[in-house]
Amino acid sequence: MDSATVEKIIKEIGNIAPAHAGEHVGRVVAVGDGVVAIDGLSKAVMSEVLVFEEGKGKKLADSMEAHGELYGLILNLEEDGVRATILGDTARVSEGMTVKSSGKILSVPASEELLGRVVNALGEPIDGKGPFKKTTLMPIERQAAGVIDRKGVSVPLATGTKAIDAMIPIGRGQRELIIGDRGTGKTTVAIDAIINQKYEPEATRPICIYVAIGQKESKTARIAQQLREQGAMDYTIIVDAPASAPAALQYLAPFSGVAIGEYFMDKGRDVLIIYDDLSKQATAYRQLSLLLRRPPGREAYPGDVFYLHSRLLERACRLSEEKGGGSITALPIIETQEGDVSGYIPTNVISITDGQMFLVTDLFNKGIKPAIDVGISVSRVGSAAQTKAMKSVAGGIKLELAQFRELEAFMQFASDLDKATADRIESGRRMVEVLKQKNGAPIPLERQVAALYAAGHAFFLDVPVNKVTEVEGQLMEFLDGQYAKTLAAIRKSGQLSEDNKKELNKAMEEFRLAHPELFTVK
């Protein structure tokens, strides 16, 4: 044993107080499915952390081998005791076990050390990179900022997805729901938004938190790997409550994520948090509530399932300058069944958030990715935060696409079309192609603006539809090489000045002359 350890032990022996304070305790009377009924603890409070005393009757050596302390969380205060959920392995709890009240509300550790790490719903590291050294405890349940402490959404949060930044813009402090059936690219949109933050200046770059709820561990590992490869893990924290975790941890994970986010927001930083997904959290909460014998309501969810999501999402906001000016932007994800957005949980979350983007299976199957149905997607506050450059090029896209979708349906029955209608359809087809994007490849603002400017100025009309994406890529390469200054100016000012427009027009003309073979449609 080294001298430092010996010194530490001597100091600890000196710290042992001779007086013995009494602890408030109860006794386990029933245990099952992750929920315990405890007799006693009459002074305990809601959401208080409990500690199960596993060492009773065990020898010292056996007690020392226990895998850390086992905690519980009080969820029901009843007449003759309390009901709590076990935040760990249920098999470690037995009837008659003594349970100590901790006098503390559940909190998670938060600090800059968490960046680049994967933690569980209790904030404990699970990536094998060792414990955190210095952290601040943040309560997982906290009152959301009040009206006076808030500020309007006015700073854009670029997602790097053209369709979103152009038509459903998101501002810092906004809550934008991503909703759709399974396998429609919801997670991809969210992950691309995280990756895109690497283009932001370091001082204003949002801290990203990805909360995986009820996901396969392989999927979360793949996402962590993707973020690491793209260099996005440096400013990202993953909170993981996999499908194999107890329902209690799946229910708690979003709250842990936002508590970590609040640590950074309180320091004046911007935070982007993704809850993937809240349908699974609602399911976990339903399971817990039924086990806690709370009365079931619609679809067997408890009566407070709306409050579960509203109190979580209300914590996403933009603080006033007096409060540091930080923000939390939330992108909750909801999975629908067979495109039914009128389900209980989807409608609840739609009504809580500041807008939603619908991802549709039909579009996804047609190869339109991201498969966003722009007709029914909306951002209620984000347009106030959209940059002037984007506003100037994205103005008519939503209308154009909506008209195109209607005409496209009509076209299936009518063979003879007048020129104006045919032109609109051709233009719409090309706009759809321009808005397509590969996953894991977010596009910076200036390139989005340039692509949409070109599309809006009939640049792609002479390009065959199936070649639009390829030509767009070549045009971007050309701009990067020859007009980097113009792109940089757009990025810096966030505006598309007359000079910028002239430069882009010139660039498009030069490109067209240099590649006549690409413009084959007469």
Partner: protein, 128 residues
């Protein structure tokens, strides 16, 4: 449901009602609601409540060995008075895993002055 009825009966009696009168009132209520069949189950639930309450009022002093008992009795006096328990009502048991010291548990309070607990706390702090 029987649990709630048993709980109500317990509270009535604890509140000062004569047991026979309380049972009669319960019987009348059950009859009026057509729930007389619950009576036997209510009796079982009532027994469980009584057992639980008895356990709640139990205060147990645990020591590592018999020779520690007298010393422990002296030390727990203060804790017992804080709990409002008479030393005569104290039950004593032996648990050699405590190594030394004593442990007092009852009335929702635990005072653990065992050597095992102190060593365990020390171990957890040093290894944290």
């Amino acid at each position: 449901m029987e649990q709630s009825y048993a709980q109500a009966l317990w509270k009535l009696v604890e509140g000062g009602m004569v047991p026979a009168k309380a049972v009669r009132a319960l019987h009348d209520t059950l009859k009026a609601h057509g729930r007389e069949a619950l009576l036997s189950r209510i009796a079982s639930a009532f027994t469980r409540i009584a057992e639980r309450e008895a356990k709640r009022s139990d205060v147990v002093l645990t020591v590592a060995c018999e020779k520690d008992e007298r010393h422990a009795h002296k030390e727990v006096k203060e804790a017992l008075s804080a709990m409002g328990v008479d030393a005569k009502d104290l039950k004593t048991q032996i648990d050699d895993t405590l190594i030394g010291g004593w442990r007092l548990e009852g009335k929702e309070t635990l005072v653990d002055a065992s050597y095992k607990n102190q060593l365990l706390e020390l171990y957890n702090r040093v290894t944290a």
